[in-house]
């Protein structure tokens, strides 16, 4: 039975894997079977029990939409996500929509312009459009946040 998991369990990333450890707390005032006292008996051990669905990993996926609808048949900005049908493989045509909001669509345009510039050997323009691309990504991210800043009037301020 797992308990106090937030205190006792730890993880570590190791290549394509996660390593899980549990902290086993010991007592340093009880001698071991050889009569030796340890300064610290706390140690990290491998998981010592079976837990069904015990590990939960929350992550950002490669696919921008968790439903797998990256390319869709209708405009994502004016239709409900549930009404969109995913378009994949050879079915992707010029009339296919990219399932992102307006700001990210404009960012994609900059990315494509950047790649076109690179193909034409114009590295300066490539870098310019890449900057525009990342600028729009930053805008898109900051548009989701509202920060309130309040200033109090100093005592000596004219009222």
């Amino acid at each position: 039975m797992s308990y106090d998991v937030d205190q006792q369990w730890f993880w570590r990333k190791h290549g394509k894997e996660i390593h899980l450890y549990r902290l086993r707390k010991g007592r340093s005032n009880i001698p071991d079977n050889k009569g030796r006292l340890s300064f610290d008996d706390n140690e990290l051990i491998y998981p010592d029990e079976n837990i069904t669905d015990g590990l939960r990993i929350e992550y950002t996926p490669l696919d921008l939409t968790s439903s797998g609808k990256t390319f869709v048949d209708k405009d994502a900005t004016s239709n409900a996500q549930s009404s969109l049908t995913a378009v994949t493989g050879v079915d992707i045509k010029e009339s296919t929509h990219v399932n992102v909001n307006r700001m990210l669509s404009l960012a994609i345009v900059d990315y494509v312009k950047s790649m076109v510039s690179e193909k034409n050997g114009d590295i300066q323009m490539k870098e310019y459009y890449m900057r525009e691309f990342y600028k729009k990504l930053a805008d898109n991210q900051s548009n989701n946040k509202r920060i309130f800043v309040s200033h109090s009037n100093p005592l000596t301020a004219v009222r």
Binding site: D6, W11, H14, Y21, N50, E58, L62, S66, V112, L137
Partner: protein, 92 residues
């Protein structure tokens, strides 16, 4: 926005190449934006410490363990910064 509109704005006509670039752009976006999150659950097996990270992971947001003595709540656990002192154990 349709692929055609993107092509027109970028002044290019190669549909297949533009589609590939759009996919690349989407990958670049997903590695910097937190727009969608996915959850993967795996069973913990006694004496097994290594568990696979889902193949489509860009970045890990949190790792949690089920607390079976607290209504099966998943509680976020801390990440070890350093390698543990005992790096491997002899398995039987």
């Amino acid at each position: 926005m349709t692929i055609l509109e993107i092509m027109e704005r970028a002044n290019t006509r190669d549909t297949k190449l533009v589609t590939a670039w759009i996919k690349d752009a989407l990958h670049a976006i997903s590695s910097t934006q937190i727009d969608s999150l996915k959850v993967d659950k795996q069973s913990i097996v006694k004496d097994k410490r290594n568990y696979l990270i889902p193949f489509d992971t860009v970045s890990i947001m949190s790792v949690s363990i089920k607390d079976t003595e607290d209504s099966d709540k998943y509680k976020s656990i801390r990440r070890l910064v350093d390698e543990p002192l005992v790096t491997e154990r002899k398995t039987s």
